[in-house]
């Protein structure tokens, strides 16, 4: 789950990392008021869950409260990569002397959380990783000790950061504490700024939370923003489905993440475009299948549906019962192809006999059929 910059900075501040004074505004009037309180040049930043805000014109300086009003008015309501800006962060503009990068990620290869620090801050770190990998210091952290001050100081030295060594190291130590404290998946300070007066502050920050750890942080779970995600993804969350909205027109439903990914691959291979990923999970009963299928049917992009089931713990006949309920409810206006195999395959076939569902013995044949049906309609 993604957090906004201002939310990430609130977390960092709670763990003792200096951030520029600032507040969130929902209207130009509020922005003006905050700028007045700050009484210095402010930076006004769109709070949306996408990268590249600056390039899209969503980050601007304002020298006085009136200019803050005007800038906020322009940014609020702006569309950045399909998302409407509903709030802006108004924060004191820092007097930047140096811009660095500090981040924490989960590294699967070392099975550790790895701290990455670079002198090349204020730019896209993935670009630095490609162009100048030697400019990034990577340090795997022992989960049982956390990042200790002596380790942090050495990271600062190895990365060649200039400024107060203890202050810089302190930010790194606290960044790891914050990361572990909120069960983050990724935490970044970019840029980590050393000001002309020698202060070390987190001028921009990004935190993504580990969805699996959210149950420990009900206050953070509440920050999930309905408007920032696809409405069907939010609805799927309520049912506990793994659902991802994609940009095609063939609805896909299956049991098991691997099988559903494979089904998407097959649809693509035969020239189709999936509208979604939906895994009903293991051991799903008829009502789960019913809800899943109704969810797909709600998607206006869907022009055909492919149900791919390999019965194991999930019984194919339970799936068939769910499909029949949806057919009888009359909400399906598009062709449905199905491939069932495994546990209770025969029972499922019998139940579906004479129903308006096209059955195919293999995944690839079913994929070809649904793509042909959807294409044929055009």
């Amino acid at each position: 789950m993604k957090l906004h910059e201002y939310q990430a900075k609130e977390i960092l501040a709670k763990y003792g990392i200096p951030v520029p004074p600032g507040k969130v505004a929902y209207t130009p009037e509020e922005a003006k008021k905050i700028a007045t309180e700050i009484g210095k040049t402010v930076v006004i930043k769109a709070q949306v869950h996408v990268g590249g805000r600056g390039k899209a014109g969503g980050v601007k300086l304002a020298r006085d409260p009136n200019e803050a009003y005007e800038v906020a008015k322009r940014i609020l309501g702006m569309n950045i990569k399909g998302l409407t800006v509903k709030k802006v962060l108004v924060a004191e503009a820092a007097d930047i002397a140096k811009e660095y990068y500090a981040g924490l990620i989960q590294d699967r290869a070392s099975q550790r959380v790895v701290m990455m620090v670079s002198k090349e801050g204020g730019v896209d770190i993935e670009e630095v990783a490609r162009e100048k990998p030697e400019a990034i210091v990577k340090y795997p952290i022992d989960p049982h000790t956390g990042l200790r001050p002596f380790e942090a100081r050495q990271i600062v030295i190895d990365a060649g950061l200039e400024g107060n060594l203890n202050k810089l190291a302190d930010v790194l130590v606290k960044l790891y504490r914050a990361y572990a404290g909120v069960d983050a998946f990724l935490a970044e300070i970019n840029p980590l700024v050393v000001t002309a007066e020698g202060q070390v502050i987190a001028v921009d920050a990004k935190i993504d939370l580990d969805d699996n750890g959210l149950f420990r942080h009900p206050d953070l779970a509440e920050l999930r923003e309905v408007e920032a995600e696809h409405p069907l993804e939010i609805e799927a969350l309520k049912y506990g489905f793994a659902y991802v909205k994609l940009d095609g027109n063939i609805g896909v439903l299956g049991n098991g993440a691997g099988l559903v990914m494979y089904t998407l691959d097959l649809v693509n291979r035969v020239g189709g475009k999936p509208a979604n990923f939906l895994d009903i999970g293991g051991g799903a009963k008829a009502d789960v299948v019913e809800n899943a299928l109704k969810l797909i049917a709600k998607d206006p992009d869907v022009e055909g549906i492919f149900i791919n089931i390999f019965g194991g713990i999930t019984r194919a006949d339970e799936v068939a019962k769910g499909v029949i309920r949806v057919l009888e409810a009359g909400v399906l206006k598009v062709p449905v192809v199905m491939r069932v195999a495994g546990t209770a395959e025969e029972e499922a076939r019998k139940l579906l006999e004479g129903k308006p569902v096209y059955m195919y013995p293999t995944s690839i044949e079913a994929a070809r059929a649904i793509v042909a049906m959807v294409e044929g309609k055009k």
């Binding site: 989960q106 699967r108 290869a109 099975q111 550790r112 959380v113 993935e126 990783a129 490609r130 022992d142 989960p143 049982h144 572990a180 069960d183 998946f185 580990d210 969805d211 699996n212 750890g213 149950f215 420990r216 793994a242 991802v244 994609l246 299956g254 049991n255 098991g256 993440a257 691997g258 099988l259 559903v260 990914m261 494979y262 998407l264 691959d265 097959l266 649809v267 693509n268 291979r269 999936p274 990923f277 895994d279 293991g282 390999f310 019965g311 194991g312 713990i313 195999a341 495994g342 546990t343 293999t362 995944s363 690839i364």
Partner: protein, 288 residues
């Protein structure tokens, strides 16, 4: 066969829960030698005739245990795995899905230091066809045969095993290593075991997008593997940055792309199947 056979004595942690109890029945029916169960606070009960203890230590005082399978809910699952490892159980199979990643980072390190093999989490477990099932897979699709399977997916593994069995090739041991980013055992940890196993003649590696485990496996195969390997990668059409059901199935920047995995296997001389049927075809060819 690797790791487990009909003589493996199994403990079930979380045996009194819905999942634990259901799969204990299924495993017993398959022939798995389940000697004890654990649910803290429910010691003294019985589940399908299996005695329940309050802790792994209590269970191992009363029984010899070779492996433990864990059905404990996500918030307590990493702790359960550590409990088994500290009680000296040499093989721990963690089925639970949705475990906080930082719990796994800490647990995997400690369990490895104890010299215990952890499989999972978020995995279907392992099965030696016709011998024992320490997992949640449908046992009947695994016919005893010649092929070892290592997989990050559940359902896809059952598909592959069923197809191999239908084709008369059959399976030896199948290990579902799990779909999470931090797991106890990866492809490259198991390939050497299959390489040594006289019964296994070929190995199928079922990978997916995300991480670099497939690339590491390919490097190991290139350097050491003496048996044919066939690879399969799911999620090849998945968009970047989206988590495809499994927490580990996500392409981050340039890491975890299908292109990188395909290239790595090609360089190792490992043929890549595009469909389940092709897995069978390629294994058949390799063993002809």
């Amino acid at each position: 066969m690797i790791l487990v056979d009909r003589n493996t004595r199994v403990l079930v942690q979380g045996i009194t829960g819905r999942e634990g109890s259901f799969h204990t029945r299924q495993m017993l029916d398959y022939g798995t030698r389940i000697v004890a169960g654990v649910t803290p606070g429910k010691g003294g009960q019985e589940v399908h005739g299996v005695p329940v203890y309050d802790s792994v230590k209590e269970a191992t005082k009363a029984h010899e245990v070779d492996a433990s399978i864990i059905f404990v809910p996500a918030f307590a699952a990493a702790d359960a795995a550590l409990e088994a490892a500290h009680a000296g159980v040499p093989l721990v199979v963690l089925i639970t899905e949705g475990i906080p990643t930082l719990d796994m980072v800490a647990a995997v390190k400690e369990i490895k230091e104890l010299g215990v093999r952890l499989i999972g989490g978020n995995c279907p477990g392992l099965i030696s066809a016709g011998e024992t099932k320490i997992g949640i897979m449908p046992g009947h699709v695994f016919k005893r045969g010649r092929v070892g399977i290592i997989s990050r997916s559940g359902t896809l593994t059952y598909e592959a095993a069923a197809a191999l069995s239908d084709a008369g090739l059959g399976t030896t041991t199948t290990v579902g290593i799990g779909g999470d980013p931090i797991i106890g055992t990866t492809f490259k940890d198991l390939l050497p075991l299959f390489n040594q196993d006289p019964e296994t003649e070929a190995v199928v590696v079922i990978g997916e997008i995300g991480g670099s485990d497939e690339e590491e496996a390919a490097a190991w195969i290139k350097a050491h593997m003496q048996k044919p390997v066939v690879a399969f990668i799911s999620g090849r059409s998945a968009p970047k940055g989206k988590r495809m059901g499994h927490a580990g199935a996500i392409i981050m920047g340039d890491v975890g792309t299908p292109e990188s995995k395909v290239r790595a296997f090609q360089e190792a001389g490992v043929p890549i199947a595009d469909t389940i049927d092709e897995i069978v075809e390629l294994v058949g060819k390799a063993l002809a």
